[in-house]
């Protein structure tokens, strides 16, 4: 089934993308100009507004005015206009994409918002501290982290190609909801990091430590809306993108990795990268064109699905070797890897199992960074009709012979019995 979400993605890809950027102070426009400019260059119609602007609204007459929302306002106590945590959550459920940046002093509003997407920011005032991975420009508290790029998620679609450049980060740590299977760890903190208020003595065990702590998290909702949460507003700033990095181990990099990652991540979150769609599904008997009303058991079936991928704003055939089709009746009876063609049509031929029932052709393709491909087509599989069984089976020939010989025998016997005259009688006459 073609999901409506995919259709809306199509619209987003062709028309100009409207993106609302919320900021604490308009100065953010200057401090984050590289990031914002790159968005503009990629075709986003940016509206930069103060987060407490009383004229804010996401939708009008039930239609969303924006496809994307960027919240670079960690300090906002209350959104202006019609905006609230509920409306933003609704926006996500309605298919909108959101990028949120927090900070050490992020307001409760932002914390509340990120909990809705399965991420928790550490306590107010707490900052990520790492005594082994910090930048030379650090003020002594070791809160300017130079996170090694090995902590990045293993997905080129989301964070671009990896190189060894560390990423600069200053802000709070993120913990994910362990029960939420949809949250993705985009950037893990180094194993030596922990999160605590740097100005206070450490009295109890920090909430977030080491690899369990995230610096950047992402969520791809079931309707394929995407959300990125970062604990650091500066992560996206010009200063960090342009900065050079020097680690305590005296590794020196001319330029931090932030620029590349921010670029890639924003492409991902705003549905410019890693977007797939099912164009058409087709199934029929081998050698035919149209699907029958119901399949019969043991028939040979061909299943085709056409998948496309969004590349530079255009739908191109998707090619992969690991797309599988399942033929499911509660449990999958058949699970086969499909062969792709250059037009993006995946096809597979198989024999319907010898079990009747209501089946579904199911294609589920979940890969990190890609939209969820999900297609299900329900078909009925019926048993043989009374004419489809084998009519003459070899091992039954003796029975046929015996039945017919019996019939002939009885017929002959009754002929003899009825027309035989006792010889004595004829003599007597």
């Amino acid at each position: 089934m073609l999901r409506p979400v995919l259709l809306s993605v199509l619209v987003a890809a062709t028309a100009a993308t409207n993106t609302l950027v919320l900021v604490d102070t308009l100065a953010t426009r200057e401090t984050h100009s590289i990031f914002l400019k790159s968005l503009q260059e990629r075709g986003h119609e940016l509206s930069v507004k103060a987060a407490d602007d009383p004229s804010l609204q996401l939708s009008r007459y039930g239609e969303y005015l924006y496809q994307n929302l960027v919240i670079l306002a960690p300090g906002v106590e209350e959104f202006g206009g019609a905006l609230s945590v509920e409306t933003i959550v609704e926006f996500i459920d309605g298919g909108g994409n959101v990028l949120v940046a927090g900070s050490r002093d992020a307001a409760d509003l932002i914390r509340e918002l990120v909990t809705e997407v399965g991420v928790e920011m550490d306590e107010e005032g707490a900052a990520v501290i790492d005594h082994l991975h910090y930048d030379a420009n650090d003020d002594g508290q070791h809160t300017l982290i130079a996170a090694p790029s090995s902590g990045l998620i293993d997905s080129e679609v989301m964070v671009g190609s990896k190189d060894a450049t560390p990423l600069l980060y200053r802000g709070t740590g993120l913990i994910t909801d362990a029960e939420n299977p949809l949250v993705l760890p985009v950037l893990r903190a180094p194993s030596t990091a922990y999160c605590y208020n740097p100005t206070q003595p450490i009295t109890d065990y920090p909430h977030a430590t080491g690899q369990n702590m995230l610096l950047v998290a992402a969520l791809q909702a079931r309707n394929n809306a995407r959300v990125v949460v970062s604990g650091s507003l500066e992560f996206f700033s010009d200063a960090f993108i342009m900065a050079s990095v020097q680690t305590p181990q005296n590794e020196r990099h001319e330029k931090s990795g932030n620029g590349k990652v921010v670029e890639a991540l924003s492409r991902w979150v705003f549905m410019e990268e890693g977007v797939l769609r099912v164009v058409s599904v087709d199934h029929h008997l081998v050698g035919q064109k149209q699907p029958p009303i119901a399949y019969t058991i043991k028939q040979d079936v061909e299943y085709k699905i056409k998948v496309e991928r969004l590349v530079e704003g255009e739908w191109k055939p998707f090619i992969a070797k690991d797309l599988q089709m399942e033929f499911v009746r509660i449990d999958p009876f058949v699970r086969l890897t499909m062969t792709p063609s250059s037009e993006g049509v995946f096809s597979v031929k198989f024999k319907v199992p010898d079990v009747y029932g209501v089946y579904q052709f199911k294609v589920e393709y979940n890969r990190v960074g890609f939209t969820r491909l999900f297609s299900t087509t329900q078909v009925s599989v019926r048993p043989f009709t009374h004419l489809e069984y084998e009519r003459f089976i070899e091992c039954a020939y003796p029975y046929y012979a015996s039945a017919f010989s019996m019939m002939i025998g009885v017929f002959l016997f009754s002929l003899v019995f009825l027309h035989h005259k006792e010889p004595q009688k004829t003599k007597g006459d």
Binding site: D93, E116, L219, V381
Partner: protein, 709 residues
């Protein structure tokens, strides 16, 4: 003006008729009146409500009949229904007795061919009354063969109104039993004829009638056991003759071959233990006939020697073969159903799905009187009269009576098999007694002198008159009772409920149809509805939606899965519902109206059935009871019960509702308690629709949360 001469002419005509003609006329009149009566007394529900199909199974039969009438026989035969038992599906053609559908579809086509436009539903609604009229006629003929026309007439009139039969054949109760009783009595009649005459013609007719019976009801097994038993009894009592030989051999061979043509029956007649009796008796028949032949050719001493030798070798080898085969596992052990007939508690202890059906419960003593009234007392009298003049055919009716009274005691639904024989035996009894005493009334007038000498027969005529009067009173009482029972107990179409208001007016609860039509018009075409199996047939027939389980309880594990969902907590149930692609859940709730056969009262069966399979071992019946072992929904109730899906679906928002004056909100009028768990929210379901009187509640299964857990 014209009527007087006509009447006059008629009177003269009547007078002029010979006794035989008068007799025939009288018989015809009584019979046709009985037939009309049996038709019309089954119409209470149609007149009170409307021409509507009742209960649960009839809805399936109606749906299949419609399919047959529209699509033709071969499509019907090959029909694979993907709307039922999702996602398993059901082969309708191979899992039903098609006799009922074929009968009504033929009637439908014939009537339409005659340009009588009638729709399938009306044919279905009135089929059972029509066939009960025919039953009346067949009963007359059967009883006539057994005892004479008098007994036949009494039996016919009795069966026309006997509640035990009416309960399954009122208008709208479109079920197999409606025609099966006719088929059964027809087969018996043909069989008696065949035994009496010993002709191939009647035996073949019996086989054909048997085929019709097989095609229409699973109860044919009773028939194929009682006829061999009759033959066996005749052999044992030394009444075996060529007539019986011809009758039984023909019936068995033709009947078995014909019965195997019904695809639901298939190879059962040659493979299952229920049919082995008939096969064994067929073999015995041949041996008996052969022995008779040998005996006629040999002298007595020679025969004795031969006979003993053969018998002992056969017995020894037979036992050996049996032991060896059983040891090798070639002979199937007795099936559960057989045990449940012999030991009524077998099914209850071992197969919850069989025991959960109310009509499989043992019969209460009171229901014998309720369904049969005076027949209960007349039955032994009839047996006495049969024993007093023993014939081949009387032995049959004695066997039939005794066996069916046992089976009726085991299962409520077999009351249906008992009712006809009760009527026949009572017909014999009443007619024999009345004949005796009526004669005495007449005799007295002519033979007054003679009476003086017979001291025993003091006041003979008075006693006779008195007896006849008493008998008439009994018969009138019987009629009144039957009419009352029919009208009060058996004429409500459980699809539309009615109750009496405070002022005595009739209140109609049409919630079922309201809910089914809601489903039909407001849910997607391919929506899957989960409900307890009782409502499956109705949902497919009326709402036209896919269902998970229905009244054809062929797959225990699937029903068990639904039971598990109902008995689990929301989280567990959600997993099961996702696995089965459930979109909507439907429950029946009577707490607001006091409708007692709702899902909470059936809930223990869901627990038992849910816990009866491997996947449901975590569901244990005692978790749903209070520590004192009670099933309660109030504050004392077990927490497992108060938090399971079924409880939550039934009582969602019920805690805020006032049901009865002077009682707290959330007062359940069926259980007569205030419910224990009042303010709760549903996590995985949302209420989609609740009918006017809250009898049917429909919930929609939510999708997985969009942003994860």
């Amino acid at each position: 003006m014209m009527s007087a001469p006509v009447l006059n002419y008629r009177t003269r005509g009547w007078m002029r008729m010979s006794v035989e003609k008068q007799d025939t006329l009288l018989k015809m009149a009584v019979l046709s009146l009985a037939a009309v009566l049996s038709f019309s007394c089954r119409l209470f529900s149609v007149l009170r409500f409307e021409s509507v199909i009742h209960e649960f199974d009839p809805y399936f039969n109606y749906r299949t009949t419609k399919f047959l009438a529209e699509e033709g026989f071969y499509n019907f035969h090959n029909w694979f229904d993907d709307r039922a038992w999702y996602p398993l599906g059901r082969i309708i053609g191979g899992t039903i007795y098609p006799g009922l559908m074929v009968t009504s579809a033929s009637i439908y086509h014939i009537l339409n061919w005659l340009n009588v436009s009638i729709d399938v539903r009306n044919v279905c609604v009135f089929l059972a009354p029509l066939f009960s009229s025919l039953t009346t006629l067949v009963t007359y003929h059967l009883a006539k063969e057994l005892k004479g026309p008098g007994a036949g007439l009494v039996a016919a009139v009795m069966i026309a109104i006997v509640p035990g039969y009416i309960s399954r054949s009122v208008a709208g109760s479109y079920d197999n039993e409606g025609i099966a009783i006719f088929c059964m009595l027809l087969t018996y009649y043909m069989w008696i004829k065949a035994v009496k005459t010993g002709t191939l013609f009647w035996s073949t007719m019996a086989a054909l009638a048997y085929f019709y019976m097989v095609s229409s009801w699973g109860g044919y097994v009773f028939l194929i056991n009682i006829i061999p038993l009759h033959v066996l009894t005749l052999m044992v009592t030394g009444r075996f003759s060529h007539r019986v030989y011809v009758a039984y051999s023909t019936l068995y061979v033709i009947g078995t071959i014909l019965s195997m043509q019904i695809s639901f029956v298939g190879f059962q007649p040659v493979s299952t233990s229920e049919h082995m009796g008939a096969f064994g008796v067929f073999g015995l028949c041949q041996i008996h006939a052969f022995v008779d032949y040998v005996r006629s050719r040999l002298n007595k001493v020679q025969f004795e020697v031969l006979f003993r030798a053969v018998i002992s070798t056969v017995a020894v080898t037979g036992v050996l073969v049996l032991v060896v085969l059983t040891a090798l596992g070639k002979i199937a052990p007795w099936t559960g159903r057989f045990y449940s007939l012999l030991d009524p508690s077998y099914a209850k202890n071992n197969i919850p799905i069989i025991a959960s059906v109310s009509e499989h419960q043992p019969t209460a003593w009171s229901s014998f009187y309720f369904d049969l009234q005076m027949l209960t007392f007349m039955f032994p009298v009839g047996l006495y009269f049969c024993f007093s003049s023993l014939t081949d055919e009387n032995i049959f009716i004695i066997l039939y009576g005794v066996l069916s009274i046992y089976f009726a005691g085991v299962m409520v639904r077999l009351m249906l098999v008992l009712a006809p024989v009760m009527c026949i035996l009572s017909g014999i009894a009443v007619s024999s007694m009345l004949t005796t005493y009526m004669k005495q009334i007449d005799e007295v007038k002519t033979e007054k002198k003679k009476a003086k000498f017979e001291g025993n027969y003091f006041m003979r005529s008075e006693i006779a008159t008195f007896f006849v009067c008493i008998m008439s009173v009994f018969l009138v009482m019987y009629t009144l009772h039957c009419t009352w029972v029919t009208s009060e107990a058996y004429s409500s179409p459980s699809i539309v409920l009615s109750a009496r208001g405070h002022d005595g007016s009739r209140i109609i609860f049409d919630d079922f149809r309201e809910a089914y039509y809601w489903l039909r018009h407001n849910t997607p075409e391919d929506a899957k509805v989960m409900s307890w199996w009782d409502y499956g047939y109705q949902i497919t027939a009326m709402a036209n939606r896919t269902i998970l389980v229905d009244n054809n309880t062929w797959n225990n594990t699937h029903i068990s899965r639904v039971g598990q969902a109902m008995a689990s907590t929301e989280d567990k149930a959600y997993e099961i519902m996702r696995e089965l692609d459930v979109d909507y859940v439907l429950v029946i709730f009577g707490g607001l109206t006091g409708y007692s056969s709702d899902d909470i009262n059936k809930f223990l069966w869901m627990v038992r059935i849910g816990g009866s399979t491997e996947k449901g071992t975590h569901i244990k019946e005692h978790d749903y009871y209070t520590p004192a072992g009670e099933f309660r929904v109030d504050k004392e109730g077990s927490p497992t019960l108060l938090n399971c899906l079924m409880y939550k679906m039934c009582y969602y928002r019920f805690g805020q509702v006032y049901t009865e004056g002077g009682k707290p909100p959330g007062y359940d009028r069926v259980r007569n308690v205030e419910i224990g768990n009042k303010d709760f929210e549903l996590d995985v379901l949302e209420e989609a629709y609740t009918t006017e009187h809250w009898i049917v509640r429909i919930y929609k299964v939510k999708d997985l949360p969009n942003r994860g857990a």
